[in-house]
């Protein structure tokens, strides 16, 4: 039963066309992400990306629409207002605590957000939660929290992200290839 729910969640994520749900009028798809200075100090590798609308516009001006890789990225970022990433990799287990992301989870408890994917791996102890903020059938924002024993990643995409197009980035610029069964068992 749980497995079925997860599959259903993934299908909803990738095709994100029929996600119902209430949207708070004041709900903001942009999360207030902390600086995570402590985690950055302990991390072996840190990735902090803050792309506001002006930076996204600048990036798209320097992409070549005749290049397939660039064209795919242009298609994905078109209509976005921001991409915010905080990712930390550690050289030992348990370098961060669940409490470190508690402030973010509280924001995602807002009724505007809907958790569409929740995976918990007993083997790898990797947990991934994916949330969408929708307005009718339009996606207004995406949030992702991936907690692994030696890595913590938080992604917040603001704007009308087209998940089908995001999926088409598979195999490009280092994105691993994967296919998702869209049918629900």
């Amino acid at each position: 039963m749980s497995h079925t729910r997860r599959r259903l969640g993934l299908a909803v994520l990738f095709f994100a066309c029929s996600v119902p749900g209430p949207v708070g009028a004041a709900a903001d798809p942009r999360l207030a992400l902390p600086e995570f200075k402590d985690l950055a100090g302990k991390a072996k590798e840190s990735v902090v990306i803050t792309m506001d609308p002006s930076l996204l516009g600048m990036a798209s001006r320097f992409m070549d629409s005749s290049d397939p890789e660039d064209a795919a990225a242009i298609a994905v970022i078109k209509g976005l207002q921001g991409i915010y990433v905080r990712s930390f990799t550690f050289d030992r287990d348990g370098a961060y605590q669940p409490a470190d992301v508690e402030a973010i989870r509280r924001q995602l408890a807002d009724p505007g957000w809907k958790r569409v994917v929740e995976t918990r791996s007993k083997k790898t102890h990797a947990d991934v939660d994916i949330y969408l903020m929708t307005d009718g059938d339009k996606v207004r924002g995406l949030a992702l929290i991936a907690s692994e024993p030696r890595a913590l990643t938080i992604v917040n995409i603001v704007g009308a992200i087209d998940l089908d197009k995001l999926r088409k980035l598979e195999g490009q610029f280092g994105v691993p290839k994967f296919d998702v069964d869209s049918s629900t068992p």
Binding site: I49, V128, L166, P176
Partner: protein, 114 residues
């Protein structure tokens, strides 16, 4: 014989005062050649030429400075644009990797399920 030659030479080479007409023509010609060789411009005509060269030099320097500055700004904007492009790629790649992690977890769990 020798005395006769000496006397004739002394007579021929004796200093003779030029005629007044010859002196006048010589002075007139010397004066004309001097005017042709070195035209003397009045002082007030030299100053504008120097000022023009100074102005042209200053304008050229200003144009060069503006050009260099424009080029530097363009180069900086290009660097920032390429960096932003790279960050977009990194962000999208990371997002897809974590979505892939979720997909793989679902598959692993489903294959383990009885």
């Amino acid at each position: 014989m020798s005395d006769d030659l000496e006397t004739r030479l002394t007579r021929a080479l004796r200093p003779v005062a030029p005629s007044e007409e010859f002196s006048a023509r010589l002075l007139a010609r010397v004066g004309a050649e001097a005017r042709l060789a070195t035209p003397v411009l009045p002082l007030r005509r030299r100053r504008p030429a120097a000022a023009w060269w100074w102005s042209a030099g200053l304008a050229a320097s200003l144009l060069l400075a503006v050009g260099i500055r424009h080029r530097a700004a363009e180069s900086q904007e290009r660097r920032a644009g390429l960096e932003a492009r790279q960050q977009v790629f990194a962000a999208l790649a990371l997002t897809n990797q974590k979505v892939d992690l979720a997909v793989r977890t679902v598959r692993a769990e489903s294959s383990d399920a009885p």
